[in-house]
């Protein structure tokens, strides 16, 4: 389940973060993530930033496949 959307943090204020996903902006709860800063990327679900995104899917998947052999 769980539609997740990668979004960039624009502003953090009192436990809330303004995030931007290719131009769509929304305030979401930042309660689950410590030390969130503007410019960070987060995964957003149902109005909450549920995780920090630490990499790029393209590169990461290349690495995983390389490790397979």
């Amino acid at each position: 389940m769980c539609v997740g959307l990668p979004a960039r943090v624009v502003k953090v204020h009192q436990g809330m973060a303004l995030v931007d996903a290719s131009g769509a902006r929304r305030e979401v709860s930042a309660a689950l993530l410590d030390e969130l800063d503007p410019g960070d990327y987060v995964m957003v679900h149902a109005g909450m930033a549920i995780a920090r995104i630490t990499g790029d899917d393209e590169e990461e998947m290349d690495d995983i496949l390389e490790d397979l052999d």
Partner: protein, 351 residues
């Protein structure tokens, strides 16, 4: 750029010539993306994808919809809900049907928005339909904890929150490998999935982009030939081993495990969450003395077997006659991606 790589994953998938493999995904968004991308079309004959019980829409029992409709029509509460639940059939009708009989149904994006709605409409009694797995439960918990802290008394939750690990166990004989739900794992970490390896059950945590999904399938098909149970986190940019401690604490603070019913599968022990007694005043069942409801599922419906890959949709006597996407009877017909809905729509041409 990425296309080159997807080719490689594609080659691994296409060239699979091992024994038949059943891969079960347990995430509504995986179901959706697998359909949207057409991944089933590129899988070899030997690879079967089963859409297991991972979509809150599909697993929410009939009784729960009946409770929500009772609250809306008998107690005249305002129901706040995710859009997903609006068309899910109860014993006699869905929330969409109840709305045309005067039920007040507000569709929200977040449980926190439902809380805000309650705060701004103090003259209404507001009930949020709290469904979902570990990804969706934290915002519901945060909403109700905030309501308690702020003394907002016209807000409550009708809970049907579920947890995945017991479902993995319940389904483990139906699959050779799981595609674990990336966003549940983002919150819970990978411990439960790794523990499944001890029980001989393989799986990978998968993300949601084309590349992430293709890679996840490629990893399964490559590793499965080695014959040993395995686990691999194929979504490390979002999923860590520990998951979110804060989220887990938040959930434990507000909710406790309980036995829970899954549409099509029946009751699974300790697979649900309900509000702790400190939150009784925000628990819609207690607050409004919701009477116990039986929730009559059609006895001929074979969704449970379909979810477990034990039969195909046309083998169900209701399929296509009594049960259609327009008037769904069972869980698998409810959402577009449900096994029966997809089979009905695509005429079985798309596996």
């Amino acid at each position: 750029m990425g296309n080159e790589y997807t080719q490689t994953a594609l080659q691994i998938i296409r060239s699979y010539d091992g024994p038949p493999v059943r891969i079960m995904e347990v995430c509504g968004t995986h179901t959706h993306e697998i359909f949207r991308l057409g991944i089933r079309q590129i899988l070899p004959e030997a690879v079967e994808v089963i859409s297991g019980p991972g979509c809150p829409v599909c697993v929410t029992p009939v009784r729960y919809i009946d409770e929500a409709i009772w609250l809306a029509l008998e107690r005249k509460v305002t129901i706040c809900t995710f859009g997903d639940l609006v068309r899910v059939p109860g014993s006699t009708q869905s929330l969409a049907g109840a709305r045309s009989m005067g039920a007040h149904v507000e569709i929200v994006y977040s449980p926190l928005d439902a809380y805000d709605y309650a705060r701004q409409h103090r003259d209404e009694e507001v009930v949020f339909l709290s469904v979902g797995f570990e990804t969706t439960t934290p915002p519901s918990c945060l909403a109700v904890r905030t309501a308690r802290a702020e003394g907002v008394m016209n807000f409550s939750l009708l809970t049907a929150n579920k947890t995945m690990p017991r479902a993995y166990e319940a389904m483990k004989d139906s699959a050779d490998a799981f595609l674990y739900p990336g966003h549940v794992c983002a919150v819970m970490g990978t411990g439960d999935c790794e523990a499944m390896v001890q029980q001989g059950v393989s799986g990978v945590v998968a993300g949601f982009t084309a590349k992430e999904l293709m890679t996840a399938f490629a990893v399964i098909l490559k590793k499965i030939r080695q014959g040993r149970p395995f686990f691999k986190n194929c979504y490390p940019r979002v999923v860590t081993r520990e998951g979110s401690r804060t989220a887990k604490e938040l959930m434990a603070d507000v909710m406790v495990p309980c036995d829970d019913e899954w549409r099509g599968l029946g009751c699974i022990s300790q697979s649900g969450l309900r509000l702790r007694s400190d939150y009784a005043a925000w628990d819609a069942r207690r607050k409004y003395s919701v009477p116990p409801m039986k929730g009559k599922a059609n006895p001929a419906c074979r969704c449970g077997d379909i979810l477990q890959g034990k039969c195909t949709p046309p083998q169900c006597p209701l399929f296509g006659t009594v049960c259609t996407p327009e008037q769904p009877v069972g869980a698998c017909m409810v959402s577009h991606e449900g096994a029966c809905s997809a089979y009905y729509t695509y005429g079985g041409k798309i596996r």
